[in-house]
Point group: C5
Chain length 355, copies 5
């Protein structure tokens, strides 16, 4: 089973065929199952689908985290066991989704993107697709990579004496969404730092070609980021509007909080976009300013020395009858003229504020 890089690579296949579309990060999936009641909590690493389904009979919330999307047969089995629509399974495996919320009779399907600062040396962002299937007492989370993103939730589940474990699958869903959305702030902060660096460079006239490249790269990152993050607002608005029984009205307050955060993030991204556009204008202005300075140096040098050279040239001529050449004070007088011309032009340039 190969993973396809581009969305277009899947063309020609029948809709509903289960194939992993996207970058392949791991060869096998890591399955973590957390099952909890107010009183008890069990965490196992599952290897078969059956280990996942073992908790169906219990009155407990079961959280299944599947990291790595390569085990297609596992996802097919989950789909069959819980009656998940073929298109949902297909969407989980295709990591080019737009964030969205879909409500089905027995379950909810949520996709969103987690922003991860890339480990390359410059500012850049990677996107991990996180899909959720929320059933009555099961929450499935599908991730592309193995990382520590959800560790804090596990810690809280383990340490929670009651509150968290008393609340149902919908509160767990909230906690997951909150974690993913708040993760974006990390990226926003580093973006803020990067923009401040450029601004400082520009305002200190330290800008160079590299600055232009950085502005353009940041702008592109921001355009992409906006596309991945903006739909989260609609996603949460749709969840709040939804009349599903799977989300308790009490949980609405919490979801509204996540919605506020996602609005703040989009506000910030839009501000940064405006600021970067402004910085490009400042960059262009600063290039013009530099050219102006270069031109002034040239003009001052040329305007002073070209006339002087002309006068020197005059008295280098070989006419037989040039009375000045015979004058005793001709040469020093000419130096006087040179100094006068130079002084006059310097005054002229100073008046023009070029000096």
């Amino acid at each position: 089973m190969t993973s396809l890089r581009k969305p277009s690579d899947k063309l020609g296949m029948r809709p509903g065929s289960l194939i992993h579309v996207g970058d392949r990060h791991h060869d096998d999936s890591l399955i973590t199952v957390v099952d909890y009641t107010p009183d008890e909590i069990t965490t196992i690493t599952a290897t078969t689908a059956e280990e996942i389904f073992a908790y169906r009979e219990r009155k407990s919330v079961t959280w299944v985290v599947i990291e790595g999307l390569t085990d297609v047969s596992l996802i097919e089995k989950i789909g069959a066991e819980f009656g998940i629509h073929q298109l949902v399974l297909e969407d989980i495996l295709n990591t080019h989704q737009r964030p969205k919320f879909e409500e089905y009779d027995d379950y909810l399907y949520i996709v969103l993107k987690c922003l991860v600062p890339a480990e390359r040396d410059e500012f850049s962002v990677e996107y991990e697709q996180v899909s959720l299937i929320v059933l009555n007492d099961y929450v499935f989370t599908f991730k592309e990579k193995r990382d520590a993103l959800f560790d804090p939730i596990q810690v809280r589940l383990n340490s929670s004496k009651g509150r968290f474990r008393n609340l149902g699958a919908d509160y767990l869903t909230y906690a997951i969404l909150d974690t993913v959305v708040d993760q974006n702030f990390v990226v926003i902060d580093s973006l803020d730092d990067a923009i401040n660096d450029i601004e400082d460079q520009l305002l200190d006239s330290q800008s160079n070609k590299e600055t232009l490249n950085t502005i353009q790269r940041l702008k592109r990152e921001i355009i992409t980021m906006r596309r991945q993050v903006a739909p989260v607002r609609e996603l949460l608005a749709a969840m709040l509007r939804s009349e599903t029984k799977l989300i308790d009205t009490q949980t609405h307050i919490f979801l509204r909080d996540v919605a506020d955060h996602s609005m703040r993030i989009v506000d910030s991204i839009e501000s940064y976009r405006d600021i970067l556009t402004g910085l490009l204008d400042v960059y262009i202005s600063s290039v013009s300013n530099k050219m102006n300075e270069v031109m002034k140096v040239l003009t001052i040098f040329a305007s002073i020395f070209i006339p002087l050279t002309f006068f020197a040239g005059i008295y280098g001529m070989n006419f037989e009858y040039m009375p000045e050449l015979k004058w005793k004070w001709g040469y020093p007088a000419l130096w006087g003229v040179f100094l006068l011309i130079t002084a006059g032009l310097l005054v002229f340039f100073r008046r023009k504020k070029w000096l």
Copy 2:
């Protein structure tokens, strides 16, 4: 029957007159009829309208693909047989339509545009208009050209053991829309490649006049593309809102999926437009940067040699009384002055970071 190039060429004709407006790709139409039940499937190439109507009595889904829009009388016959409104027939023949969905009592009319990468050497896109008439058990598809666009659907119909052939004309409609919309991803991908190429050229300072032309051409393509693709979102939203009996509620999940795809495509196009606008700014900056560099070279050369030439000119003068000319070390001393001036200016330029 001639084909008119421009939408305005049809002016003055009465509304509702059937004339093919658009590029003429083929002299005759190719008619493919696929008739299927869950158990059976027949595929024929029809030459008369009667062969198409032959399946009306059967309890089956009949899919008629008409490639080439020159056979106006055929379309008139279909219109008469199925009671299609004159304006719909006219719209099918006019390939300057805006994508739209229209609901009539007994049938649905859908127009949309399929993006085809043009075969010319540079990045450019062609648009094929695809019209659908969806009746209870007939689906008509009108295309401008003969190509392999719908081959995958035929393959799936033939190989499908039940699923596809069990579902009705509305699922077939979905499959057609899905194919047309997903085809756009191919164009989006090649657009992405083209933009990355320009970006690399610009950031490596390899840009030239050609780069400007390419940016402008891409921008224009994107503006056109957006106009052809953006209304597809509204089209699908209208289909999902519609209360027609011709679309089963079960099919809504599938249409929602196509709607997601078309939103992703429009998102991408808008991102690319923003990125291209940014690239034009970067191009302009890079031209200014280059000019700066040219100016610096000129200024450095001129500022160093113009004063030196002046001094050489001084001692080329023919004054009778120029004591320096008589000095034994006058000439080497002047060389010393030359070197001092040059060194001073080089330090000055280095301080200004021009070297």
Copy 3:
């Protein structure tokens, strides 16, 4: 009765006073009356209001086309006869209206603008205001000028064996709207040609100051055009929403078609605006590119010859002790130095890709 050029010229008059505001094209109005039933059709040129009202008793559709808006008393008589609101009469005479649709108890009032390519040599557009009053069996059309705009409708009415003449005043209204809206495509096409011309000029580096003027003029035309055409969409949407009995639901399909056309026109205008904005950027870039080229020529010439001139100046000095001047091979050796410097600089410029 004078015509006022500017909307502001009417200030201070009481609202509802009937005065022609706008350009005066003809001294008298031409009144054409077409009265038709499915069986009969009469066309006369009327000179008095009474000839117009003569058809009121008949069960027929009467279409009155008034070309030229100078005969204010005629419009007053029509207003009195059919009970038209004073403000509507005033609006008909004021050719600075925004396209709009107004629904009254017994009649509909529609204003829109017809785009006419101006006969001046360059691309420019004129706007003719067309007003409609639609009563139960009367349709009044008020135009500013005498032209052949509605001839095709008259031809169709005359030749129609039944269809057109069977349908009522609302279908006639549709036919008029359709004619006016489709007329815009002619202008759009010539706009497209004009933009393509500029684009070709720019990409072939054939641009000059004239190009800038043309871009600006086109941009201004487009901004004006948009203002005149964009409200037509709302006008048609309002007609489709309206619950007036004067428009049969059957006619809605036709109006929807006109609405589609007007959306296509606005889409095109907006695309052209975007493209022109892009072309201005390309123009600015091309001016910079040209300056770059000029600067390169200057820099190459100056950088090569200024140092050479300096060396020539050196050996033009009159120092008594300049050993080189005595050397036998001094002069040819200096030429060697000249060639070396020149070659070195040419290599340097070629490395910089300036040659």
Copy 4:
């Protein structure tokens, strides 16, 4: 009682404290009272509040125009007599209001801005705030300055044989709104003239620094104008939506007309903003074009004479062995070389279209 210049100067005062905020134009207010029935009309200049209230018992429409906002006690008395909310009184006195419509149980409160071309020599606009309180049979109009703005209404009231005086306070309100809104057209026209002047200057290459200043000043005026005028559309929409008994449905047709006018004005302002933005781009391009021309002159002069000077320098050298200097035809031959070089370069520059 002092007038405060800036909105912020009122900070710290309790909301609802009556203080005039804005420019102070007159020391005392001029109060004109027009009382009319279909049969009678009385116009007086009042000096006390009691003269205003004298008409309360009569079955007549009383129109009170207060020009100058300095008599705060008068406004307090009116407020007390008619039960106007404290905040409304405060808003009347604060001339920094946003145009708005407020509906109270017994009265309506309307604020809008009248554009007045300023008398300074260049294009600039002043804003006069006009507030209306509309009661059942009283209309209060508060203006900042004494001018002839409402004279035409008084003339019409006096000359009207019945129509105007038969209609109630709501028609008077309409007449006032219509007068204020139509006044804007005067400003729009002068704006149009100013923009045409700039455009002509730019396209005839007559632009200078002054042009840039004018563009910027106009742009700023337009931005301010938009802010003052755009909310009038919402104001009128709110009036039309309102279910107050103070506005007769018959008057709605008239208000709709004013709404159309205000939409036209906003459309125009937005067009002018777009055109001005375009003109700034044209200005920037024209500056670049001029620089190009300057550069070309420099480059042509320098490229021709710098090489020639080099050759002249060569033969000014004092080498002992320079055979050319001895040649009889050396000097004329060199002139031949000079002419050849010059001709060659001229051909080169002509090919490049620089000449």
Copy 5:
């Protein structure tokens, strides 16, 4: 208990954990309690939570102002006493909130930002977060810093003979919102001054690099300001839409007034943004204009003296046969030629309007 600088620093903590996120301005909180009835008013500085709760039994309005957000346990106690949701308490402590209004069963939660001109020498703005919890007869106000912001309200409460103290907690809420929103006008005014300064500098050609930096800084401030202020409109719209019993309908008129103010502020901010964007274009144009001037000086000097120097060079050549050198009037004649060339070029440059 430490304060975290960045929103992202709180990542990984469980939602609902009470920690102060933001800048820490004071080490301890200042608690002011104002308790009033129409007849009595008491103002104390509380040090324990119990002093705050002491007024719960009385039929009075109690206003608690907490300045400084470091005393987390106090906020926890208030939350416990009045049953405030954990997320609200968390939001109060996190000073990175977006302005918002939240309605709970027994209380309202309002957050907004107060703009404070920073004390640094240049134009810059600081944001203080003000949170309100409105209960039936308690209003809690949480501020980041100790300042005189609410002093005017306390003065009015003390001096009010009845009006203010007769109205309930909702009127107090209005007074607080009004104070915070009107405070923004101070910043808007200083912004206006700063922009006028730049404009004057630019139009008087006094601009320099500092101008560019100021424009960019102002633009950034405005972008941030808009983000902090724009949501206040929605906040107030939500309050007006809300059906809570905690806000009397009578108070709606007052809230509408605050809403108007906040709309005016956002209008102003948007205008300033447009004006600043225009100023950047003017700046870029002015840099180009300056460069043009520099180029003209260079071109005039070079174009005049380079040909003259060439002629001087000619007659400095050492050809044996140069007849002109022998002519008696050769030298003065050459001066005549020099003057002719110079005059000719000066006329040429004057025609080009470069002089």
